[in-house]
Structures are given as C-alpha cells and as structure tokens.
C-alpha cells in the first residue's frame, strides 16, 4: 500500500518547499501552544485557586451596610461554630501627611481579624498581618511612602484619625495584580473604623463578609441559607466557585482576545500551509502524471502524498511543541507589569494535546484542497511543457466551502462563544474579502496599463507569473498588517488625545462622595463654578417585564446589567448632550415615572422608546418608561449617566454628590490637600494621573497584541518565500536569459526589488487604507475622540513593510541570482 522509497524520495526532494510547509506548521503550533500554556499558567497561578483569590469560602458583597437580618444570620452561624467570619471594607479615600501638607488618593482596605482565611498578606518585615495590623497601625504599599516621602514609623491622617505606618505590604492574596487601582493600597484595622468616620451613608464603600466554612461540604448549603435572608438585588452571596472577580474577568477577556489573535495567526499559517503544499505538489506534477500514465490509481497516489504530508506535519508539530515551550519562558517578559512577578510558567500537557489536535486539524483542512487537485491531473501533463490554468469546477468550490465551514466550526469550538465567534469570523471574512477585492482591483488595473520603463514592466510581469502566489501573499500580508497598523494607530490616537495633550476643556479632577449636607460648604470652599451631579445608586430588576438574570449577566463579557448603576436626576439637558429620540428630556402630562436613557446603553441592550425598565433603588422598586434617548457630543472624559430621572422622583433618595472640574494642573495637589483637609470623606481623583495609568496599561496591552500579531506577519513572509520558491525555475530561466542578452546585475536586482517592492507597497497601502478607516471609525464612534491619521507613522509603517518584503524577496532569490548562465543553459539543452 505504501511505497516506501517513493515516499522517502518525495521527502528529500524539493526540500525548500517542505521546509516552508514545516515552518508554517511550526508557526501555528507555537502560537497555539505558547498562548494556551500561558493562559493556563495565568489561570493556575492567579485564578485557579479561587478560595485564595477571594480569601474565603463564601463572599457576601454589598454597596451598603449589611441588613440586620443578614448580620444576625452570619452571627448565629459563627456562634454555632459552623463558620468564621471577617468583615472587609474597601473604599477610596484621600490620606494626608502630618499637618495636611500633602495628600494622596489611596485604596483603603479596612479588615477584621481573620482576614484572609486563605492565602496570606505578605509584609516586608515577613511578620504575620494580625501581629502588625493592630489598633492605630496601618500597613501601606511602597508607593504611598515613595509619593508622600514618608517612611515606616511616620503618621498619616486617614479620614478623621491619625495612624502610624507600621509596615509595607508586598502581596495580598485577593488582589494578585493591582493595575486597576486608582491608588496604592493602605490596610487599616477594623478597630479604627469608628475613628476614621469614612464609612457613611451613601458613600462609595464595598462591604464584604468573608466566611470560612469549617466543613467544606457545607459551603453550598450555608450559602443558600444566607442567600435566603439576604436583601435581594443588594446583598450578593457567592461561594468562591461562583463569585466573579474583576481580575478574573479582565484576564478572561484579555486571554480571550489573545485567543482571537492566535486563531487569526492559525488562519494565516493555514493559508501558508496551503500555498506551500500547492507548490510542493506542483513540483511533483510530472511524477504524478508519469505514475498515472503507468496505471497508478488516484487513491494510491493520494495515499502516498498523505503519508508524506503527515510525516512533514508531524515534524512541524514536534518542532512547534518544542519551540512553543521555549518561547513560553519569554512570555512573562512580554507580559511584565501586567502579571505578578512570581508567576509560574509551566509546561502544560493539556496545552500540548490541544495544540497538537488543533494543529493536525488545521494541516488536514488546509492540505485537503491541494491534495484534491491531484485527482484532476491528467497524465498528458508529461507532454506539456507550459503552464495551463487550473480549471475550477463545482467540486473545487464545494471543497472550498467545506474547508471554510470546518474552520469556522473550529473557531467556534476554540472560542466557546457563538456570538463573538461569529462576529470574529465575519470580521476576518470581511477583512480578507476587502483585501482580496482591493488587491484584485489594483492588479487588474495595472495589468491593463502599458508601462514604458523596462524594469517596471518586467516587475509587473513577474507578479502575474503563473504559480506566483501574488494574491495569497498580498491578502495575508494585508490582513496581518491591517491588524498591526490599526493597533498602532489607535494606540497613537489615544496617546495623542489623552497623554500628549490632555483635552483643554475636559475636566481633570473628579470629586466623589460629597454628602448633600456638605454641598454648600464644599462649593464655597472650592470657589469655582461647577456642575454638581446627584448620584443615586440602583439596580435594574427587569426590562419590559423580563427579569435580569443575575447569574448570566455576570458571565457576560463587557458590561453587565446586574451591576449597580449610578442614576441621577435633573430636568434639563447638559451642554454636551443632545436628544436622539423624544421631543424633550421628559414629557408633560404622562402618568408614571419617566427615564431618559443614554444611546450607548440603549444600543448595547436593545432599549427602545417606550420600553419599561424596573429599577430597585436601595430596596425601593421603581417602574419607569423610557421617554427619551440622549447622546453625548463631547469627548469621553466628560462624566455621563446612563439614566436620568426627573428631579421630583429621586430627590428624596439616599444620595451623594459628584462633580468634575477643570483645575489648573499645577494647583491640583494644593486644592486636593485643602479640600480633603476640610472634607475627609470626599474622594479626589486626579484624572491626568489616572489617564497615565490607563495609558500605561493600554500601551502594554497593545504591545502584547502587536507581539502576537507579528506571528501572523511571519505567516505572510513564509507564503512569500514559498511563492518565490514555487517560481524558482522560471525566475532562474529569466535571470539567465537576461544576463546572456547583456543585462547587468543592477538591472536584474532592480526588477527583483521592484517586483517585491510593488508587492509590499500594495499590501501596505491596502492595509493602511483599511486600518485608517477602521481606526477612524473606532476613534470617532467608540472612543469619541478626535482622529489623527499620523501620516509620518503611516509612512514609517509602509516603509518597514517595503523593507521587509524586499529583503525577504531578495534573500529567497539569492540562489537564483547566483546561478551561472553556462551551467543553466547546459542543463536546459540536455533535456
């Protein structure tokens, strides 16, 4: 059945195409395994031990003080010895140095003894937390000391208390990374809670009960019991298994995003595999034709080549696995700053297995088409010297359709999210279709043109050479470049809008949690004209009678409906608001409670005029009707509210006041010091600083994305190499003939450079066009920021692409350029 010597010969001949094929397999394997292993490492070292991540078995969360019923229930369980409990308060507050000279927004965590039940808070002194965090002591992150120029032993004013810095915290189990935080951590003992006087009615505090259940088998039962007595919509009872975590959500989302990029790379590597196999089999055309002429069946021939490709695929897979592990060790450097320092990167057998299957699967899919074409090869090929185009019949298109469908199914399986999977597939589909269409159009218009310059004309002839994978190269390069270009352009635009030049008119300081009773004094003290927004917190219970499914909402990527919303009330539109639907913000003469919804929320959740939204405002149900949809006309740093109510509806509800003002940058810290000295409970957020933090994370993320997208560029480069190799004979022939006819080396180099230059330029230009359009759309419609096209950067990107493609083209043509005419001619004549 297997013809061993035949197979061996196929493996050893046309070595270069087999190398390209193997490299494409390696590329897809590396991408899959490195990323999968890495996400597994992240999960294991940060997220897998959910009990440590939550520091307890059961977590009860509320934005308000716990209800007496719940308090009692917890208390009685403690008394029965079934659980241990510790309360935790998490809030932002501005702390001040002695004499209120300097101030800093910090993330306060007030903890009762017992916290954390799992994992440990590591201190610089290596002492245990409970020994250090006694009454009157605080433990701070190094950043607090650095920024306030303090050291251990100094005091700090927190709220209305003056406390001593006793130690520095290095790591806390329930916050493995802290880049989401607006300020550094400060631990305070619950014994100082009263003295701080920060936890007041309406202020923004996360109240937590951490419970440790003595008998692990009881966790779910006790959680259910507590859930029964908890105030619905307000007190969330979760076990460590069901509790969401912001960090987990972030990494889930980010790893998911990287998954998309991996699949994108897999797709492009797949195109590479296909073009290498096509070239490989084309080189075997004569052999196959001779075999057919002497009576070999299609089955037999296909089987031999399947064995050949399997062996090569196996080699690529093994190499890819090895390289994946190797690369994986470098990933933590790429991710530096985003992950805790101590992250373990381990070899995951599962990742290898999964990568292996996906890789083999991809190879099978992408080789099927070229293999299928072998069937159509007629023995008559032996007598034909020149190329003829491949006829494409119905079976061909059916096979193509099959390949697309199978690959789409694979994507859906890998992403496990049908909606986003479909978006992704259509996105990639549109991208590739656009790239194909544009390149096709340009190539067609070039083909029709009469060109005077000889080298240029030759270069274009080269592009249309039979077997040249010109279109495949352009499409893959364009697709991967579009992604990289877009990320770069967006990165630059965000940077230009917020980092380089913080918008002139945008507010740069937020004051949160002003009590209504403080409003007058606060306004006087601040001394500048400002808009004060009342903030009432509430949840959505149902939309048009459809209750919000809390469990499902927390699983959702992006925003979720089960979270707490900030509601406000006023009877007028703001300066930066406009009505999209509805004649006025509210209507007169309408029964019931009216609400105005922001367009972004309405679009994301399919809310229309007249829809009924039922709210729960701190225990009070409120059924509303949507009477207008607003949009914002300014940049996204302006404060905004999804829901606006009429004043009369919410005026009496428990509320705080929020304001956003523009302060001269140099005075920010002085004003902050002054305001928090008088109003210790008010949180001050310096947006310019926040934006820097945001920008740093963003830069990191875009860097990582670019890193992984580079893999897809490699796929494009491999296709280019394979294409040059596939046309090696014709290229050598031409080069030799040109030399004989008296062409200098400079002429031949010029033609080659032009040919690859056109290829690179076309890909880069199309990619730039697509990415400019894409980034413009995202900037204008999603970020709401002014768009800069960054012509210099665009030029740079085009030139880098040009340089890359020309260099790759030249390097893969070295053997062609070196060919001695006499030797080639002799070989040709002997034929």
């Amino acid at each position: 059945m297997f013809h061993k010597s035949f197979i061996r010969r196929q493996l050893t001949r046309s070595r270069q195409q087999t190398v390209v094929f193997v490299l494409c397999v390696v590329l897809s394997m590396v991408t899959l395994i490195a990323l999968d292993s890495f996400s597994r490492s992240v999960n294991e070292s940060m997220l897998m031990d959910a009990r440590t991540l939550h520091a307890g078995d059961i977590i009860i969360h509320s934005h308000y003080d716990f209800s007496p019923t719940l308090d009692d229930a917890v208390g009685s369980l403690v008394k029965q010895g079934l659980i241990q409990a510790a309360r935790v308060y998490d809030l932002y507050s501005v702390v001040r140095t002695a004499g209120d000279k300097d101030s800093l927004l910090v993330d306060l965590k007030i903890v009762e003894p017992g916290y954390p039940f799992y994992g440990a808070v590591e201190l610089k002194s290596q002492r245990p937390l409970e020994k250090v965090l006694t009454q009157g002591n605080i433990i701070v992150e190094q950043g607090v000391l650095d920024r306030l120029h303090l050291q251990a032993g100094d005091t700090l004013n927190v709220g209305e208390a003056t406390l001593m810095i006793a130690d520095v915290v290095l790591h806390e189990p329930d916050r493995p990374v802290n880049f989401f935080s607006l300020g550094p951590r400060v631990f305070v003992s619950s014994r100082d809670l009263e003295a701080l006087n920060l936890v007041q009615k309406g202020s923004r505090v996360d109240h937590l009960y951490l419970l440790k259940v003595q008998d692990p088998g009881n966790v779910d039962r006790l959680a259910a019991e507590l859930r029964d007595v908890a105030t619905p919509d307000r007190e969330r009872v979760d076990t460590y298994r069901t509790a969401g975590s912001r960090i987990k959500r972030f990494f889930d989302n980010f790893l998911f995003f990287l998954d998309l990029i991996a699949i994108f790379t897999l797709l492009l590597a797949g195109i590479g595999i296909q073009s290498a196999v096509t070239a490989f089999l084309q080189e075997k055309e004569k052999t196959v034709a001779i075999m057919k002429a002497v009576g070999a069946t299609n089955r037999f021939i296909t089987l031999q080549f399947i064995v050949v490709l399997c062996l090569l695929g196996l080699a690529g897979t093994v190499l890819g696995v090895l390289l994946g592990f190797f690369l994986q060790n470098f990933l933590p450097f790429v991710f530096q700053g985003l992950l805790p320092q101590n992250i373990r990167t381990g070899i995951s057998g599962w990742a290898v297995l999964k990568g292996f299957f996906l890789g083999v699967f991809a190879v099978a899919i992408f080789t099927s088409l070229p293999l299928y074409r072998l069937r159509d090869l007629k023995p008559a090929v032996i007598f034909r010297k020149e190329e003829t185009g491949n006829r494409r019949g119905l079976p061909f298109y059916l096979t193509v359709l099959g390949v697309v469908l199978v690959f789409a199914a694979m994507i859906l399986w890998q992403l496990r999210d049908v909606r986003i999977g479909l978006y992704f597939i259509s996105g990639v589909g549109v991208l590739i279709a656009l790239a194909t269409l544009l390149s096709e159009a340009v190539l067609l218009s070039i083909r029709k043109r009469k060109i005077k310059s000889l080298p240029l004309r030759q270069a274009f002839k080269g592009l249309f050479r039979p077997r040249n994978a010109t279109k495949a190269v352009i499409v893959t390069l364009t697709a991967s470049l579009s992604v990289i270009f877009s990320i770069t352009l967006l990165d630059k635009n965000l940077d230009a809008n917020f980092i380089q030049s913080y918008p002139e008119d945008a507010p740069n300081v937020f004051f949160l949690d002003i009590q209504t009773s403080q409003l007058e004094a606060f306004s006087r003290e601040l001394g500048i004209q400002a808009e004060y927004y009342p903030v009432v917190r509430g949840r959505i219970r149902s939309i048009n009678g459809e209750p919000v499914d809390v469990a499902r909402e927390w699983q959702r990527r992006g925003d979720n409906l089960a979270r707490e919303f900030n509601l406000t009330y006023r009877d007028y539109l703001l300066k930066d608001e406009a009505l999209l639907q509805g004649e006025s913000l509210f209507r007169t003469g309408v029964e019931g409670v009216q609400v105005s919804v922001l367009d972004t929320f309405a679009e994301a959740n399919g809310i229309k005029m007249g829809d009924r939204i039922a709210f729960n405002i701190q225990g009070v149900p409120l059924d509303t009707t949507v009477v207008s949809i607003r949009t914002r006309t300014k940049e996204f740093i302006q404060p905004f509210f999804y829901f606006v109510f009429q004043e009369k509806v919410l005026k009496a509800a428990p509320q705080t006041v929020f304001t956003a003002v523009r302060l001269p940058p140099r005075e920010i810290s002085a004003i902050q010091n002054r305001m928090v000295a008088s109003f210790p409970n008010v949180s001050v957020i310096d947006l310019t600083e926040t934006v820097q933090v945001f920008a740093r994370i963003l830069g990191k993320l875009s860097g990582i994305t670019r890193f992984f997208t580079l893999f897809s560029i490699i796929a494009g480069v491999l296709i280019l190499v394979s294409s040059v190799l596939a046309t090696r004979f014709v290229r050598t022939q031409e080069t030799v003939y040109f030399k004989i006819l008296g062409a200098r080396r400079s002429f031949i180099l010029k033609v080659l450079t032009l040919e690859n230059g056109i290829l690179g330029l076309l890909s880069a230009l199309i990619a730039l066009l697509l990415s400019q359009a894409g980034s413009w759309t995202i900037s204008r419609w999603i970020f709401d920021i002014a768009y800069h096209p960054f012509p210099l950067w665009s030029l740079l990107m085009i030139f880098s692409t040009l340089a890359l493609v020309v260099a790759v083209g030249l390097v893969s043509s070295i053997s062609i350029l070196r060919q001695k005419p006499v030797i080639f001619l002799r070989e040709q004549t002997e034929e």
Binding site: Q733, K739, A743
Partner: protein, 241 residues
C-alpha cells in the same frame, strides 16, 4: 581585419578528483564579416569554445581579444554591455523568455540599451522573417521554427558585430532547419555581421568562409568553404598536429 581572436585557450573541468580537459590550446582568429563554421563530434567542445569566445564563461588559460581588446579578465559588469551591443546569440533550444511575447523578446536587448526605436526595429525584423502577425504571441504559442526565427531577430536587433549560433537547427526538422540557416545567412550578409556557427550540416559548411574541426579539445583541421574558392572538405596542409 581581425575582430575576434583566441590565443591558446584551454578549459578544464574538475569532476571529483579527476580533471577533464575539454579545450586544449585552441587558437583562432576571426576576421570581420567572416562566416566561420565550427564542426566536430558531440562532446568535442564546440559549445564550450563558443561560450568562451562570447565571454559567457572564463577559460582556464589563454586569452580572448575582441576588436583587439583583451576581454579575458573583464568582470561580468563589463562583459554584460558588450554582450548586449556587440554580440548576438542563437541557441539550439531557442531560449526565449517565456513570459514575454515574440516582439517583446526581440525588443528586449534594444530596450536594455534604452533604444527608443526598439519597437520599430523589432517590427522590421519580424516582418523580414515573416512573423509580424505573430508578434503578440508567447513562445509556447509558436512552433519550433517560428521560435528560432524570433530568436534570430532578437540576436540581430542591436546590429551586433558577431553572431554566435550553436546548432540552431538541432531541434528542427530538416526543411525547417534549412530555411532557418538560409535566413540566418541572408541576414548576416545584409548586416555584414560576423557569424560563428556550429552545425553538422556539410551543405552549409561548404558555403562558409572557413571551417574549424574540433577533436578532443584541439583544432584537428582548418578548412575552407567553397565560398572562398577552395576545395571541398579539409585541406590536409592546414592540419595542426
């Protein structure tokens, strides 16, 4: 006047640890406008001699002078323009550029030297060989004889001083071959080019000015073609031993 002169050319190839001497001290001088035929059995070194004379390859020793200038040590960059303007080639297996049409093939050498009349000249030549209506065809759309006629046009477009033709009829049937050789000779006469032709045809050899007979890498005999009024065949007195 001598246009091309070879002095004591030798060419050896290394095959493993064996040295093969293909040409062994060949000297020959070709006069301007001369029609020289090189003959010899297969493997006697005819093609090798042609590649050395035309500067496509370097001799192991000996010198080559083109119009009195020693081009033996010319670099490829210096030889290329010489090949372009002073030399034309016609090969046994045509060697047309497959991606170029007939007229583009013919024009190519002229275009390389930025000749603005390339197209016009190519048209004149193609009309002359009766292929004007096939100008837009690609080589694979032409028969062997037609391809060779295109190759001849290409060899002549820059009005080279010397045309090298290595068994130009080797891949053609006899009637086609005869027509091609007649055409080549006619054109050579018209343009007063020097023609160095490798052929097995005795009939053609008889019409030449001179015949060189190669054997074992040496010139075994000189002969005069009937054209010069000499006897048929080789004159023993010219025999070099």
């Amino acid at each position: 006047m001598t246009i091309l002169e070879a002095q004591q050319l030798t060419k050896t190839y290394r095959l493993g640890d064996r040295e093969i001497c293909v040409l062994d001290g060949v000297s020959v001088a070709v006069a301007e406008g001369e029609f020289l035929v090189i003959q010899g059995s297969s493997g006697s070194g005819k093609t090798t001699l042609l590649t050395l004379l035309s500067g496509l390859d370097k001799p192991t020793s000996g010198r080559i002078l083109l119009e009195g200038i020693d081009i033996t040590d010319f670099k490829e960059e210096e030889l290329a323009p010489l090949r372009n303007t002073s030399i034309g080639f016609v090969f046994q297996s045509f060697h047309l550029v497959p991606s170029l049409t007939a007229i583009e093939n013919v024009m190519f050498p002229a275009e390389l030297r930025h000749d603005h009349d390339a197209e016009e000249k190519a048209n004149i030549l193609l009309r002359r060989v009766g292929l004007l209506d096939r100008a837009g065809n690609f080589p694979h759309q032409l028969s062997g004889g037609e391809r060779q006629r295109v190759a001849i046009c290409r060899a002549l477009i820059n009005n080279p001083k010397i045309v090298f033709a290595d068994e130009p009829t080797g891949n053609l049937d006899s009637s086609n071959g005869k027509a091609i050789l007649d055409l080549l000779l006619e054109l050579q006469k018209e343009r007063r080019a020097t023609l160095i032709l490798v052929t097995h045809s005795q009939e053609i050899a008889r019409t030449s000015d001179r015949i060189i007979f190669l054997k074992d890498g040496r010139i075994a005999a000189h002969g005069l073609g009937s054209h010069q009024g000499g006897r048929d065949g080789f004159s023993e007195q010219h025999h070099v031993s």
